[in-house]
Amino acid sequence: MVEFFAESTAFGAVISILAYWIGTLIQKRWKFAIFNPMLIAIILIILFLTVLGIDYDVYNRGAEYITYFLTPATVCFAIPLYEQYERLKKKWRALLTGSLAGVLASLTSILLLSMLFGLTHEQYVSLLPKSITTAIGIALSGELGGIPTLTVAAIMITGVFGNICARALCRLFRICEPAAVGLAIGAAAHAIGTVLAREIGEEEGAISSLSIVVCGLLTVLAASVFAGLY
């Protein structure tokens, strides 16, 4: 049976969608933030592959077809941005200051925690791009001399955690201005967070999309400075 899966091109795509569908059913039944359809799907698939002894590469041969759509989907973030443009324009000062603060907070906290946990330089620079969108993150990690697979892991953990906990964290820190909520989610948890920001509201979604671009570019500029610090 495992050989059949290895031959199939649809297998990976089908179980991804099936697992996500099960995730949405579970979320509908129990409305806790931790029952996140994406997280449930990821855990189900990892369990399934491990139990049947199927390699990640075999699964990814089919799942790749879905991942392919990430780039055109990222391009579509221009739509909420376009629709909310007039409102965003008025808040450009807050958005720019917030993004700058977020990027510096991200890089500084990674520096301090890497020192604290005694990570190697290679692991440290792999973490620097963890709050930005995957495609920029991988390229930046490579440029800084990091380990791209480690960067992807950090980006995914950040995104999924941000997606699950953003509502609770915004409540905890009393962030309630829609623009500030959107920016906080986008700056911390990139595109995976933006999925949630779009669910919260139109303005939140648009600003979260914007911060993927702004924080991504700011991180590219600042990370090379931080790479030399540890």
Binding site: C76, A153, E177
Partner: protein, 120 residues
């Protein structure tokens, strides 16, 4: 067919983004060039929103599913990196909390401060 035509326009912009990515020697991915380009096209009216709206919304709504594949890749990385992945996970989670708090509070402060200044 409507969805197919709309999707082709989005793919075309994505393709131009890929060309820019190949030509410009910066670590900026095709998707980001495409996003900026699409925004400019919408803003100048070169692409009317109605010509892409349905397919674009479909892609945005389906986005969580697109992240599942790369996330499952975590299992392969775990085998490769071993225990270090736990530190990486812990740092990722802690910094996410810090970034969210600082970004959100800073932006909120500037918004409220500016508003108060204008009204007062």
């Amino acid at each position: 067919m409507e969805y197919v035509f709309q999707f082709s326009i989005i793919l075309l912009v994505t393709f131009v983004g890929e060309i820019l990515h190949a030509l410009i020697p910066l670590p900026i991915p095709a998707g980001i060039y495409g996003l900026v380009l699409m925004f400019v096209c919408l803003k100048t009216g070169m692409i009317p929103l109605e010509k892409i709206r349905k397919s674009a919304n479909f892609l945005l709504d389906a986005m969580p599913v697109m992240f599942i594949g790369p996330c499952v890749g975590f299992m392969a990385i775990y085998r490769e990196q071993g225990i270090a992945i736990l530190y990486i996970a812990l740092i990722s989670i802690l910094t996410t909390v810090v970034v969210m708090a600082i970004t959100g509070r800073t932006a909120q402060f500037v918004i409220r401060h500016g508003r108060g200044g204008k009204n007062g």
